[in-house]
């Protein structure tokens, strides 16, 4: 009896240790890729991240040196244009889902937004290629920005809806009971209360599309020089990395590593900003 109980005890202890061990290893495996990516980028790219990288145009084939200034600026321009399309539509659509509309229509819209979120990003590139590039007979910054903006819409829409729904109903009632109209209540009370969450959603969407390559392949196309007009092809960091990484030149490979390091650092910084933003005071945490 005594012996048996002790035996069971040991066996249970082993099972418990086994389970927590497997869980721990799984947790490590989750973080490991991030560590590996950063380690690889630092080892291979840190050496090529220098002043020239941020200020110079790509060097001609065969020449050593040069940088990715045009791609960095190009990515920022594309993000600005994508934001102009994706932010207003996404935010207002999210507010509509949370504040207006009937439950049935909203559940359909929500489902469609989730489907959009699941569409492979290269599909957006193809769609914009068909709609814009073919019609206007040329790759352009507009087309690239549009493709990224369209990807942003469902992302921002869903996060906005979620944080607006988190605003307690008491605030809406309090404003309406003061004789404030519905839309002013939504803009000045509800959206203001949810502003941190809305901004977080926008930043995360920008970080996400900032690293997209596929939708730019046949929209923005890439450019080895400065872009002088939004209706011309434009360079972007992910595109430049792609081009350089598949090239046969060692110097370009090093530059690709450097570009990837800069891009990942940028995305990382956005995520840290979001963490800091959402930490804040508890009262307006939404």
């Amino acid at each position: 009896m005594q012996f048996q109980r002790a035996h069971h005890h040991t066996w249970r202890k082993i099972k418990s240790a086994l389970a927590s061990g497997i869980a721990f290893v799984s947790a490590l495996l989750v973080i490991a890729p991030l560590g590996l990516v950063f380690f690889y980028l630092l080892v291979n790219g840190a050496g090529s991240v220098n002043w020239d990288f941020f200020t110079k145009l790509p060097a001609p084939v065969g020449a050593v040196g040069g940088g990715m200034a045009n791609a960095i600026v190009g990515t920022l321009e594309l993000l600005a244009f994508a934001g102009v399309i994706g932010i207003p539509v996404g935010v207002l659509g999210g507010v509509y889902l949370a504040e207006y509309g009937s439950a049935r229509i909203n559940s359909i819209l929500r489902f469609l937004a989730d489907v959009l979120n699941g569409i492979p990003s290269i599909t957006w590139g193809v769609v914009v290629y068909g709609l814009v590039v073919l019609r206007f007979k040329g790759f352009s910054a507009y087309a690239g920005g549009l493709a990224l903006g369209l990807i942003m819409i469902p992302l921002i829409l869903r996060t906005t809806e979620e944080v607006v729904l988190l605003v307690p109903n008491g605030y809406r009632e309090a404003a309406l009971a003061l004789g404030v109209s519905r839309w002013k209540t939504i803009v000045h009370i509800v959206m203001k209360t949810a502003s941190k969450g809305i901004i977080t959603g926008i930043l995360l969407a920008l970080a996400r599309v900032g690293g997209e390559t596929a939708p730019l392949l046949f929209t923005a196309f890439g450019n080895r020089f400065w872009n002088h007009s939004l209706s011309e092809p434009i360079a972007a960091l992910p595109l430049q990395i792609f081009t350089y990484a598949i090239s046969p030149y060692d110097d370009w490979h090093r530059q690709a590593w450097a570009g990837a390091l800069v891009l990942v650092t940028g995305v990382f910084c956005v995520n840290v900003t979001v963490r800091i933003l959402t930490r804040g005071r508890t009262a307006s945490v939404v």
């Binding site: 009971a177 004789g179 009370i189 307006s284």
Partner: protein, 277 residues
């Protein structure tokens, strides 16, 4: 233990309730006639008719789910925010039909203010901004006027002395009782004629409750006040008239002294003496 309980009881009874002895012919702010309200298929208010006296406190009592809050919200059309609401009957505010098709609910709510059970100062705003937000969002821009109204409203809500140096601090930094008085100041700032209170003290401790009750007593000189309460002693202390609701019906309505000492209806007596509800 027993002595403290008794002394609290005695103090409660000694509180002056200011009851009008008979049903004096007072002016009515609201005339409610044959009002019924449905949420979908469910009837929440069943054919209620009553007049609400001007510059007096009317308390609405009754067990949970009896329609107290719905009735209160029908007085400033807040119940319409619930989808699929239907209403019959008329509500007159100083002889004007609140539900006539030409009336904008926002205007009704400016004239009939409301304080809620849970204090809800806007978390993104300072104490000062909270008070004048109703005016600002209704288009008032004159800073001098806003400042005057800010001080006046806070004084009327008996909060000025406590917060006058902290007007720039967040409204949510105040204590529960102060937050509720801030909400009262916010409601007063748009200069309503009536203040509706939906269990304004149910989330407060006894000291904060006493302050709000005192405030209600002072405010009735200028405003008509309708308050919903779960607390029978509170209804006895603060109100001039009491309406007892049960299952959506108005069972009994009259001067508070009469309702509490000599109710005409058996159900009222049972509820007040704690036999049900």
């Amino acid at each position: 233990m027993e002595t403290t309980e008794r002394s609290v009881m005695e103090r409660g009874e000694q509180r002056p309730a200011q009851p009008p002895e008979a049903e004096a012919p007072m002016a009515s702010t609201f005339e409610v006639k044959n009002v019924s309200i449905w949420y979908g298929e469910k009837r929440a208010i069943d054919n209620v008719t009553m007049n609400i006296a001007t510059n007096a406190v009317t308390a609405i009592i009754g067990p949970s789910g009896c329609g107290k809050s719905t009735f209160l919200r029908a007085l400033n059309r807040m119940h319409e925010l619930v989808p699929k609401t239907r209403m019959e009957g008329t509500v007159l505010l100083h002889r004007e039909d609140l539900y006539s098709s030409s009336v904008d609910p926002s205007i009704v709510r400016r004239r009939v203010g409301m304080v809620f059970q849970k204090s809800n100062p806007f978390p993104t705003m300072t104490i000062g901004e909270n008070v004048i937000v109703g005016l600002r969002l209704n288009g008032v821009r004159n800073q001098k006027f806003l400042n005057e109204r800010l001080e006046k409203s806070l004084r009327m809500a008996a909060l000025w002395d406590e917060v006058k140096d902290d007007l720039h601090k967040p409204g949510t930094s105040l204590s529960g009782g102060q937050q509720q008085r801030l909400c009262i100041a916010r409601a007063l700032a748009v200069e309503p004629e009536v203040i509706l209170m939906d269990e304004p003290c149910s989330a407060l401790d006894p000291i904060a409750t006493a302050k709000i009750e005192e405030l209600i007593y002072e405010l009735k000189a200028k405003y008509t006040i309708v308050t919903v309460t779960h607390n029978m002693q509170q209804a006895g202390r603060i109100s001039d008239y009491t309406a007892f609701f049960y299952l959506g019906r108005l069972i009994e309505f009259g001067p508070t002294t009469k309702i509490f000492t000599n109710p005409s209806e058996r159900q009222t007596e049972d509820y007040i003496t704690g036999r049900f509800g």
